[in-house]
Symmetry: C2
Subunit: 130 residues, 2 copies
């Protein structure tokens, strides 16, 4: 595999992820980057980060795509099978690292990956009694 380089743009993107507690979309990253680099470059950086397992990609119910930094802290083998929560009010996506669903599959399917997204109200919006 090819070596990935640490470029100005990539570092800037990583800093943004570091600061953010929630998952970010391409356009949100673009806004925060303030023309550090081209739109296309952000796509390519995100692709690389996903490939290098530094960031994971989350597709939402509403069709939007977001990215979040991976939390490798506890696991040797890195699998993204945790749940995500999507707030219908503030539209923030948070990783629920500890929520893992259990389920029973019909045999003759081979499951390799799961995506479990819950939506509703996040603690913040719930408290603002909306």
């Amino acid at each position: 595999m090819k070596a990935t380089r640490n470029t100005t743009a990539k570092t800037a993107v990583l800093e943004i992820f570091e600061k953010s507690k929630t998952a970010l979309s391409h356009s949100e990253i673009q806004k925060q980057l303030n023309d550090v680099c081209d739109r296309v470059t952000i796509y390519r950086i995100l692709d690389r980060l996903v490939n290098d397992d530094i960031v994971h990609k989350i597709s939402n119910l509403d069709g939007t795509v977001k990215y979040a930094k991976c939390n490798h802290s506890n696991q040797r083998v890195h699998i993204h099978n945790h749940a995500h929560f999507s707030c219908e009010n503030c539209h923030e996506i948070t990783c629920l690292e500890n929520v893992k669903p259990s389920y029973i599959m019909p045999h003759n399917y081979k499951v390799k990956e799961i995506n479990f997204t819950l939506s509703g109200l996040c603690p913040n919006c719930l408290n603002s009694n909306i």
Copy 2:
């Protein structure tokens, strides 16, 4: 609420859903429709069908959106909390009506809807030992 009409295009779309065992994307429907109606009309028909609870919308891991006919047979109250299976080989999406995940949430989140998608190999592709 407004009354929905039975138009030629809507009937054609429903027939396609009837024939299909898997979920269909807008473009797949468009191909099968053979210019029965405009691209935009298909979007509007799908919106109406989702609204009328005749079809449900499925957002996939890869960002694609598909639609499938609802199976109301057993339930009075109709909830789409069943799982979907996405085959990484043939890219078909199937509803797993009977697979429902169980999970434990942190308190202070209010869950209203869940989306549970599994991916891997479907029975067909598994048998063709790929």
